[in-house]
Symmetry: C2
Subunit: 435 residues, 2 copies
């Protein structure tokens, strides 16, 4: 495919630029977007009109809107990315293998990131900024509903970069549905795919490509209320975890309640969530305590993404941990307890990206974690897990410099390795510390 002809070379140039230059490029994009509000709004209006004509669902239409307020917020986002520390160039290990033979492991861009997302035009601006900051090439495919807006945004970004010798060859904008299928085959070009959208959409991507995927399909999160829980705290935290914003992956879908606090906790939780009319599915024991819908086996596997929840009464922390191992999606699970040993058991045995004690699952988020930016939340165990910041767009490279060292002189000669670990401060040999 011709459109990919220059991306690798473009990325190679971008990947070796200084932090100062990458930040200058980010600022150029921010300014150009600021002075192109009218142009963006015109394009966005075309998308909105088409969406109305085609009776697109209202929430989708809402997400499609990219007005001056949203543009300003995107521009603010770019400036925040510029303010972040450099994600590349950091030395992670430094070891003197022998006199004159110095090894370093250095953080470098992954290469090319593929991002596929539905409607939201702000996602396009955000991922291009993050790719630029981390020195990666980027292949983006947005939703067809936002085609005019996205195309205009990419034009503006290219215009902003035209005075830089780096240029914008490291960006490829795909626009057709067919392009998505092609993208999944591009394992010689794309090093990491980041899909954003519905669970089904993400699962489809994961099941149809050999390219590594950063993300998560389901977010089936549980909270276990232990026998030694502070019940008042438990009610407050569980209410937050379900009702503060239920349409997201880190909201809980299941409450596991120790039988000895069930009688106190379950009615109090129902009372606390009354104003949201939460639909409660309860097991046999729960049904004895409150009016609710009897749970089915299928319920434990559902991500409601709504004011709806399962409650199960359990006999022990181990039973709760077993339930999570069986039905959870490895995203975020929490325990409420005042017993340190039980908390530790839960922290050790629950195999999820995020495991919390005495706080809401809703904290599972890159910004709340203080990562500066959020590339996504991953339930994969490989590469990056949980909320992922810019470090998710980075890999490492081993650098070894010698003075003519040969393996022969060690294995057939008399030389011996020193293997002395050195401090990792300072620039890498890639950037001027080469002696």
């Amino acid at each position: 495919m011709d459109q990919f002809q220059y991306i690798k070379k473009g990325q190679r140039v971008l990947g070796t630029t200084s932090l100062a230059l990458r930040n200058e490029m980010l600022e150029a994009i921010a300014s150009e977007l600021e002075s192109s509000v009218k142009e963006i709004e015109e394009a966005n209006n075309k998308d909105l009109l088409k969406a109305q004509q085609e009776n697109l669902e209202l929430p989708l239409q809402k997400r499609l809107l990219f007005n001056s307020k949203k543009i300003a917020s995107s521009v603010e986002g770019i400036r925040q990315v510029a303010a972040l520390a450099d994600p590349i160039g950091k030395v992670k290990e430094r070891r003197l293998l022998d006199t004159g033979l110095l090894l370093e492991r250095v953080d470098v861009p992954i290469g090319t990131i593929g991002m596929i997302f539905e409607s939201r035009p702000d996602a396009l601006v955000q991922i291009i900024s993050l790719a630029l900051k981390s020195g990666n090439g980027i292949v983006v495919k947005g939703g067809s509903e936002a085609l005019q807006t996205n195309t205009t945004l990419v034009e503006i970004i290219r215009r902003a970069l035209q005075d830089f010798s780096v240029g914008s060859d490291w960006i490829v904008h795909l626009t057709s549905r067919e392009d998505v299928r092609n993208m999944l085959e591009l394992d010689h070009i794309i090093d990491l795919l980041i899909p954003r959208g519905s669970n089904e959409f993400v699962r489809y991507i994961m099941e149809n490509t050999h390219i590594p995927v950063l993300g998560h399909a389901d977010g089936i999160c549980a909270m276990y209320i232990d026998k030694e829980a502070d019940v008042k705290m438990a009610v407050e935290v569980a209410t937050d975890a379900k009702c503060q914003y239920p349409a997201v992956c880190n909201a809980i879908e299941t409450l596991l309640v120790h039988f000895s606090v069930a009688k106190e906790f379950i009615p109090a939780f129902k009372e606390s969530t009354k104003k949201w009319n939460v639909v409660i599915h309860g097991d046999n024991e729960t049904q004895k305590l409150i009016t609710c819908i009897p749970t089915t086996e299928e319920d434990w596997k559902k991500e409601y993404l709504d004011y709806e929840i399962n409650i199960k009464v359990v006999a022990s922390a181990e039973e709760a941990i077993d339930h999570i191992a069986r039905y959870g999606s490895g995203h975020t699970d929490a325990i409420i307890t005042n017993n340190k040993e039980t908390a530790q058991l839960f922290l050790q045995e629950v195999d999820s990206a995020d495991v919390f004690v005495n706080c809401s699952t809703r904290f599972a988020d890159g910004f709340r974690f203080g990562l500066g930016a959020e590339v996504g939340i991953s339930t994969q165990k490989i590469h990056a897990r949980g909320p992922v910041g810019l470090e998710g767009l980075v890999t490492s490279k081993w650098i070894l410099t010698g003075e003519g060292h040969t393996v022969t002189s060690y294995e057939e000669g008399e030389r011996h390795y020193l293997h002395t670990n050195l401090p990792i401060e300072g620039k890498s040999m890639m950037e001027g510390s080469l002696s």
Copy 2:
């Protein structure tokens, strides 16, 4: 499949054991193997006899041999693994999100590792030790040629572990060819696959599974001799990189030589490697300097794994870098130069797992790098890259402990995040530092 019934629970128990206990288990395995030499040799003799009867290729027969000397070396290997630092439990980030709300990112076992390899029985012992050390479950499938030996080894290992309450449920030994195909589908059980064997074998695995794969298919490594190279050093290092042991992935397949040193370097290289009768494929310029086979387009993509090499004369470092980008496999590439700027350009622009200056590509190896153990060499960009030690069997988990903290109190209330980074020394909250 029934044989996988207990592995996850077995791993969950193993994953929470102390370093001391895991090391005790390793020592128990080492001792049991030491006192079972006869039993192992008997089983191995059956495999060897069958291999002879079936006229298995001689190198394969040689790799199959597992006599008392090789057993002793395997036992020594287990004790070396026991001596290594604990790969799990380390705190990688620690951040106070707010008063009483403490975040940690902690290294934990990945879960279950799937290892598929051809003949060598020592690989089975090694990977089981590494899995045990890192708290991972392990599914192993060895070569059918080594069936008796491998089965006996697994029996002995289970016997060694029977007095430990952890047991050996975390090990699953697969024996049939059909099992391999099944293994590739087990993405709900196996978190990471490590295939060892021929390039074709590894490529087959990579192309037929959605499970992440740690490893590499081709090792097409190049060395560039710059115009500012010390030619004597270049000849010595290039000779080492090709001839010290050509049957391995980190030996070079291609020499890229700057035209201004070609006349001096190429004939000297030919002279230096004469005793190994190295077959040289040369481009037009090389053919003017020495007698050699004219290169074809296909040659640049070949991993000879033998005393055979391509030589190309190039006009610049950039041309060498372009050649590597086009034909290399992202494994290990080196430059010989006394010019710092050229070395830095090469270090920055060559996108390979290992990029070396003035030393042999043969140093690309976990032991030579001082990693203590080598799980494999990865040309993937995700998770682990280059020579991978025990840290390749580890992922991380986010742990957050609060005192009833809710997101509501930040987003609809008056609380603000502190996001104070704390020192990462000391045990994690998973292991007793919970307050």
